[in-house]
């Protein structure tokens, strides 16, 4: 099939960007969205033009590197009834029709400055993890694994939250550019495990504080995040975070610094 792409081009964070139109021909329905962009880029290189930059790595939907807005939807999630929620690398061109025009833009959020074209800086998410998204268990200190039992339902629910890949689609989809779904997935994962209890109050308070410092917006329970999440992380995690946050504040926990 043949497609018309309108792609956000921006040479660097300091320069202004704009949408540029490209024609891509002979697209196979079995290609992934990124393979279609590869075809465009090879053509641009041979034509002596600057290829489109975009982040990607594993191309199997697990590393969280890739992610663009496709026709205004993060990873294209929500555009196709038949398609399960996915990452951009796992969206296949069979979801599109010959002659389609597709808008391709980077994640848009104050906390995610554009590096070039479709690649953005998501290090703010790492700093949220740094502020408390861990269990302090230095190497060598661990007790025998079976000395602490974990109820299967807790372990399974913790796993479901822990499958967040940190791609940032939730932020890009949110009208407030809030990272609440990301933050809550880690708060809930660790908060459901017995090993995570000692730091539970401090963790939630510090992570929310860092999230605010990074310039993410507040959560108003709109739900675009969960619909756009390639791993289907549930909004229930946000409720659980709020529950933990309230409990922690009442217990006197306050952010560091």
């Amino acid at each position: 099939m043949n497609l018309k792409l309108r792609v956000w081009r921006q040479r660097s964070a300091a320069e202004k960007g704009k949408m540029v139109t490209y024609e891509v021909t002979d697209v196979s329905p079995d290609m992934s969205f990124l393979e279609m962009l590869d075809v465009l880029n090879e053509q641009l290189i041979l034509d002596g033009e600057d290829p489109v930059s975009f982040d990607h790595d594993c191309r199997e939907g697990i590393c969280g590197s890739c992610g663009v807005m496709i026709n205004g939807r993060a990873h294209g999630n929500g555009l196709f009834d038949s398609h399960p929620q996915t990452t951009t690398c796992q969206l296949h061109m069979r979801s599109f029709k010959d002659g389609d025009t597709i808008d391709v833009e980077p994640w848009r959020a104050t906390a995610f400055p554009v590096i070039k074209d479709l690649a953005v800086d998501r290090s703010a998410l790492d700093r949220i993890i740094q502020s408390g998204g861990y269990i302090s268990a230095p190497t060598g200190t661990a007790p025998e694994a079976h000395s602490i039992l974990v109820a299967k339902k807790d372990s399974d629910a913790a796993f479901d939250a822990a499958t967040c890949i940190g791609c940032g689609a939730c932020v890009a989809a949110c009208p407030n550019a809030s990272s609440m779904l990301f933050t809550s997935s880690k708060v809930v994962h660790l908060g459901l495990m017995p090993q995570g209890q000692p730091e539970r109050n401090d963790r939630v308070v510090n992570m929310i504080h860092q999230q605010d410092l990074e310039g993410f917006g507040g959560c108003t329970n709109i739900g675009e995040c969960s619909v756009s999440c390639p791993k289907g992380i549930s909004m229930e995690n946000i409720s659980r975070l709020n529950h933990d946050l309230l409990g922690a504040l009442r217990a006197g926990a306050r952010p560091k610094s």
Binding site: S12, E49, R122, D126, A145
Partner: protein, 648 residues
């Protein structure tokens, strides 16, 4: 062997494992004999760690916890992206929670045998010993492993073993283990012990007075090329499967760090040992950019088959039982579908070569869950493999609950890597190599669920102990950034960058990469022969020549330039490919993933030649036009009896 290919150098040997005590005591004895560094002195010592996968992430975090000043480098935007994240199936540990006869010794034995007797016994035994600590460590970090209703950890079995010793987190074990290491690493960054260098790629090693003292790296956003210095350098940069272009590795996975270290003098061991994983989604088109693995755990319940008759194009569901060939169950009755990866892959190739392959291009076999669905019910299959089935459906557009999956082997892992001793130190003092980037534990074939085990063993438990012995003689004299060795390395990287951008030819980097990959898969893949390897060795220098005169790399050096990154990596892959073929050609025996057509048993199994090839081939780099130098490390088997591997 023709001497035009290489010359023979002095043998190498590991001198660090204490051979005067029994194997079960060697690791604790080594730790006892190794020198220590007093906590107050650790602050004065700097360690560079390149890579943040299971090995690099866990090592950087653990060294930071110990009090060293750590500089952590990675090319992705976040340490959580490292390709360990994609490992699906699980991690082995000799916990014997199933009471099924497992032990440290059995894990050791299975791993040496699984590696077709081409791994070093001492390293493998240590790996089996520390495997139990890894599970404890990860559970303490909150890794949500699969559990049973009583709250205990669940296990499953994997290829090449007859016990259930694999711990897992649904089909995302690597992701969960990596996040454990990543979180520990972020904690150390917050504590200020680990300094971070995101989106920064190592492009050379700085060797001063014979010691590894730093690296040259390029900031991928600004394009700035800078030098960084330390008392020791740790490479945890993964494997080189992307030599084959199509592999299950991430697109960015590359050999540049280890290859540049090799060109600085580090020996490269067993480069031809590559693992072709039997259960991947088949190739479907020319534009394809990568292959996707379906976890080996699927072989616990899925049955592999092809039609008995060639050219049978019926819908698989219409083919009666009597007309199906469950060839693994037929040939290997005791291991059945759970034979090791090298064997499962080669048999898939054999049935396809016979014309019995399935799918559009005949390069595929069925992996069928109909029997398991009947036995266990769909909900049980969904719980065990749900995400894998979803992934398959998304990529192929077919529903594996309804029709059998189609699978074909794909390059997945490289057992070869930089040569290291028992301390995981290369032949360059101060250069340590951990995880897939080294060669040490898997011999000629890696068993499933052993890569995660090795990465975390090296990073959490082995390196943080052995590196002390080296650092105890530091801190070393500070390296002046104007030191000739540093300047030479920096200038070399700058010159190569400028050269790549100036060629301005007619072909893209990707087109060279695809050509190299296809050549390597066809001529140095699942089956190799003198003829195929000679052909590859004729062709690779031509590809190299054309690359350096006709590649077109757009953009500038001083900007975010993904084309430039790719070009540098492909330049190194081309050189590495040549060494892989030389190694494969010189090793005139079949072992594990290295199958030489000339060396097989009457029934087509790999035939080792222990008399002539029971050694590690450690290669020394030589300039273009001079044949590489082979250093042999003889493998001694004191505890495992050398035998023809049999899974029948």
């Amino acid at each position: 062997m023709a001497l035009d290919l290489f010359t023979l150098g002095e043998p190498v040997a590991d001198t660090k494992a204490p051979r005067d005590v029994p194997i079960g005591e060697r690791w604790s004895e080594r730790r006892f004999r190794a020198k220590l560094v007093n906590p107050a002195n650790r602050r004065k010592l700097t360690v560079i760690v390149v890579g943040t996968g299971l090995a690099g992430g866990s090592a950087a975090a653990t060294l930071g916890e110990a009090g060293y000043k750590v500089k952590s480098f990675w090319y992705q935007d976040s340490p959580r992206r490292a390709h360990s994240v994609a490992a699906q199936g699980g991690i082995n540990a000799a916990k014997n929670y199933r009471n099924d006869g497992d032990s440290v010794h059995r894990l050791f034995y299975d791993t040496v045998k699984g590696g077709d007797f081409r791994a070093r016994e001492n390293n493998v035994h240590r790996l089996a010993e520390v495997s139990v600590n890894i599970i404890d460590q990860c559970v303490a970090q909150g890794v949500p492993f699969a559990r049973e209703y009583g709250g205990l950890l669940d296990n499953r079995s994997f290829g090449g073993t007859q016990v259930s010793r694999t711990f897992y987190a649904r089909g995302q074990t690597g992701q969960q283990l990596l996040y454990g290491a990543y979180q520990a690493l972020e904690r150390q960054m917050a504590a200020g012990t680990v300094e971070q260098f995101p989106r920064t790629e190592m492009l050379d090693l700085i060797v001063v007075d014979g010691r590894a003292r730093g690296i040259v790296a390029r900031d991928l956003i600004t394009g700035e090329i800078t030098t960084h210095f330390a008392d020791a350098v740790v490479l945890a940069t993964g494997g080189y499967s992307n030599v084959f272009y199509l592999s299950t590795n991430a697109k960015g996975s590359n050999a540049t760090a280890i290859w540049r270290a090799h060109k600085r003098g580090a020996l490269f061991a067993n480069p031809c040992y590559t693992q072709i994983h039997p259960t991947c989604i088949p190739v479907h088109g020319e534009y394809q950019s990568k292959l996707t693995l379906m976890s080996e755990s699927l072989r616990n319940d899925g049955r592999v088959w092809v039609p008995k008759e060639r050219g049978d194009t019926r819908d698989p569901r219409q083919i009666p039982e009597a007309e199906r060939d469950y060839y693994l169950e037929r040939i290997y009755p005791s291991f059945g579908n759970l034979v090791p990866r090298d064997i499962a892959s080669r048999q898939a190739k054999n049935v396809c070569d016979e014309g019995r392959g399935v799918g559009p291009n005949g390069l595929g076999v069925y992996l069928d869950f109909a029997e398991a669905m009947e036995r266990l019910g769909r909900p049980a299959i969904e719980a065990k493999y749900g995400n894998l089935f979803d992934m398959y459906a998304q990529i192929t557009g077919e529903d594996p609950y309804e029709v059998p999956m189609r699978i074909y082997p794909a390059v997945h892992y490289t057992m070869g890597g930089l040569w290291v001793d028992y301390d995981l130190q290369s032949n360059i003092p101060g250069l340590f190599v951990i995880g897939e980037a080294n060669f040490s534990d898997h011999g000629a074939n890696r068993l499933g669920a052993s890569a995660l085990m090795q990465g975390l063993a090296d990073g959490y438990f082995v390196l943080p102990n052995t590196i002390n012995d080296y650092l105890a003689s530091g801190p070393f004299e500070k390296v002046d950034p104007q030191h000739p060795a540093a300047l030479e390395a920096l200038e070399g990287v700058r010159a190569q960058t400028e050269k790549l951008l100036s060629i301005n030819g007619n072909r893209t980097t990707a087109s060279f990469h695809r050509e190299l990959g296809r050549l390597m898969f066809d001529l140095c893949g699942m089956e190799r022969s003198e003829e195929s390897l000679r052909k590859a060795l004729d062709r690779i220098p031509e590809i190299r020549q054309e690359f350096w005169t006709n590649v077109k790399v757009p953009g500038e050096a001083g900007r975010f330039n993904q084309s430039l990154e790719h070009a540098g990596r492909v330049a190194d892959f081309i050189e590495l490919a040549e060494l892989m073929c030389v190694d494969a050609l010189h090793r005139n025996e079949s072992c594990g993933g290295h199958f030489r057509a000339e060396s097989q048993t009457p029934d087509g199994e790999a035939l080792r030649d222990d008399e002539n090839y029971a050694y590690v081939a450690a290669w020394e780099w030589t300039p273009e036009g001079v044949p590489p130098v082979l250093h042999k490390e003889d493998l001694e088997f004191e505890y495992v009896h050398l035998a023809q591997r049999s899974y029948k």
